[in-house]
Symmetry: C2
Subunit: 437 residues, 2 copies
């Protein structure tokens, strides 16, 4: 019913709005999502969960047609010379579809974060004010090639009563289109309006650019993908953004660190899964610890095929390490490469993190409680650890049962985002005729 | 210590950074604020309160020099033909300074929202995860001519452990510069680093433009002012923004509304202070109520010098009303003008609000509990009222003891923002050597 965006902004493109004005696909679908969002907000938890289960069943039932659509993407990708690892991420099999459908059922099982009274205020004039959790409204998701994100992001948004506009990568276009058809057909038999799920098929860059400026139609945009995708969204969006992303994470081995624990944590943070944002890029080592423990730890890292880079003090102890300068210390490798930096104490470690960190996940390994408390207080990051691997920064590892992403900004949500990150709030005020004096 | 923004982004302007690179005033001051922000985060509540009280004392002690600086602005304003009402808002007197200083003391008295454990999670692997409230970091405030905002915004940001970069209007430049000198001199005798308070003196538009793009140096920008200032910030900032502002607020008189209460609420919402964002712009009236109560209410509004505009049904009952079309229904008058719209029921009222409202404050006056609940649930706005004036949407009226602004967006904070809106959170994770399997 909110026609004003249509009237204010005539656009030329490939679909037609009620008023007869020609709309772009992005704008037309965002308007449909907005209209569905108003109905979404009054669905019960049971109605939303039933819709998610219907979506899961439909994915399994339509596995063959999804795999067929996916084959088009794979063939186009192969013809375009797409790498095997990217093709593997894009590929759907019956087993993968079953696992995506299972994930949908798990989302249905999670508690509904909307409709909760978060705060009650009784005023002297008799007004009763309730702060209640509500859906955000219409969420835009901009992401890359993995088709599981299409289902996963849709499920998390719909579970929280939001409408969603999904804009995936062009490499997965046929798959995403078919997923949308299957899911929307499944929704048609439920209380959840199919229009709440919109998939943008315009694979050109301009469809992303348009989404980023849809103030009044999108309530938030969440980018999911690599650095350049996220940077483009952050730098160009006028719609509010939840920034997720980059992790130049550090582990600091303090003078008093237990050598065995230090080695286990450092190795886990580096090699358990180097390609992800919460893995370690730089190991900071107190000079005392370096004297007694760095050689053995470095040998273990080298055995695990980790390339070492370090400052001069590091290279004095580890001659095989390549030199590391500011550029290396600022790089998110996401690979079997580790910077090492030797420091004389906590202040220098905190200063290094403050200079090169991305405020994602930072760890101190120490037996000194005072240093632990100082580190946890003074390091400005979404997650700060004492004696545990930074790899735990994850919605599932935090017990949220879901993860929309890991926020590296400070507004709204910070760190791993579970379902409550997809909600806003409103104030309901109950009066008996109060007026302002 | 975070030098990377300097290194990445050489700028040409009027001040010089540590590294010798020439910096703009905005960038240099944001870097100083960022360095102070790290110290701010570890101040105690007592240290911050002592600093606020020292600031209050200094304002009173320096009243004469503040008034002298203010006189320069007033004279320049008069020479430029500034309106008397604007000059009045700009003007400082001893009484006004005392009242600004008193407001500072009230901020000191408020509870500190930082350092609170918001949530504790115990994981099966023994990890203990605490979510703790922390300052946002560096807050940019872009505002217009009123010098009290300089003090007020500074106080709220510093109380919450943030550093602040203030960019006020050019009309108040001499006053703001002197306020900054006085406050920073006062801070020099406290634990709070004076660098946490930065006032931009570059009154050109380009200093605002630069602030809006200072990702990595500013954590958030809050615009305070009129529509065009806010729109400029929202449309051009790549730093996260908390949007405050526009209110096209409605009051809906349902069929069952108590006529006396309806009139009191409607009149209060319109005329108690028409110039502010939570005042009513459009009165929506159920046809049944219109038959029995609109004439008397309209007569009272006319007596109070309110110009009436309405649709055809309204004008059939109130021939003196001017016609209202979509343009009028979408306008925030902030004046003694009121649109009226007659509807046949709740759905039509909600649809009108959905189409023309700005998601600020919306009210239903009704004796029908079912309609009240539906209205409060279905209307998407920061504050939804049953039987009370929309004029209560205000941090002080909500009992927050402060107000940074009224957020009309859905991320982070929505509605009146008290001190907690100036905080973020971080996760502290306590382990005993846990690694991820």
């Amino acid at each position: 019913m909110n026609q004003s965006p249509i009237e204010q902004n005539g656009q030329t493109a490939n679909s037609t709005a009620a008023g007869g004005a020609v709309q772009s696909e992005v704008r037309a679908k965002a308007i449909l999502a907005g209209s569905a969002a108003r109905r979404m907000a009054s669905l019960s938890t049971d109605e939303k969960n039933a819709a998610l289960l219907a979506m899961a069943d439909a994915l399994n039932a339509e596995a063959a047609s999804l795999i067929e659509a996916n084959r088009e993407d794979l063939e186009r990708g192969r013809a375009n010379g797409t790498s095997e690892s990217l093709l593997d991420r894009l590929m759907l099999s019956e087993a993968r579809i079953a696992s995506i459908a299972d994930a949908l059922k798990l989302v249905a099982d999670l508690p509904d974060p909307t409709g909760k009274v978060l705060e009650t205020i009784e005023r002297p004039n008799g007004l009763r004010i309730e702060k209640v959790s509500v859906p955000l409204g219409v969420i835009g998701i901009v992401y890359e090639a993995r088709p599981n994100v299409t289902v996963d992001a849709a499920a998390l948004c719909l579970k929280t009563g939001n409408a969603v506009v999904l804009r995936g990568g062009s490499a997965a276009l046929s798959t995403n289109r078919r997923i949308a058809e299957v899911l929307r057909a499944a929704l048609a038999g439920t209380a959840l309006p199919p229009e709440a799920l919109q998939v943008i098929e315009d694979a050109s860059r301009s469809s992303v650019d348009e989404m980023l400026k849809l103030n009044g139609l999108l309530d938030v945009i969440i980018p999911r993908g690599g650095r350049s995708l996220i940077d483009n969204v952050v730098r160009n969006a006028t719609v509010p953004v939840i920034e997720t992303g980059a992790g130049v994470c550090h582990t600091y081995l303090d003078a008093s660190a237990n050598a065995e624990m230090a080695a286990e944590i450092a190795i886990n943070a580096k090699v358990q899964r180097p390609s992800v944002c919460n893995s370690m890029e730089t190991l900071i080592v107190h000079a005392d610890f370096a004297q007694r423990g760095l050689r053995a730890l470095a040998d273990e890292l080298l055995r695990l095929k980790v390339e070492l880079r370090g400052d001069e003090r590091t290279r004095a102890l580890l001659p095989e390490a390549k030199p590391a300068s500011d550029e290396e210390y600022g790089t998110e490798y996401n690979d079997y490469i580790l910077n090492i930096k030797i420091v004389d104490g906590l202040d220098e470690a905190v200063a290094h993190i403050s200079r090169f960190g991305t405020k994602h996940s930072e760890c101190i390994v120490t037996e000194d409680e005072v240093n632990a408390v100082r580190f946890l207080n003074e390091v400005d990051a979404a997650a700060v650890y004492h004696n545990a691997s930074t790899r735990f920064t994850d919605g599932f590892e935090f017990g949220f049962g879901a993860e929309i992403g890991i926020s590296t900004q400070k507004l709204h949500a910070r760190g791993p985002m579970g379902l409550p990150a997809l909600t806003s709030s409103k104030y309901r005020i109950y009066g008996t005729g109060q007026i302002r004096p």
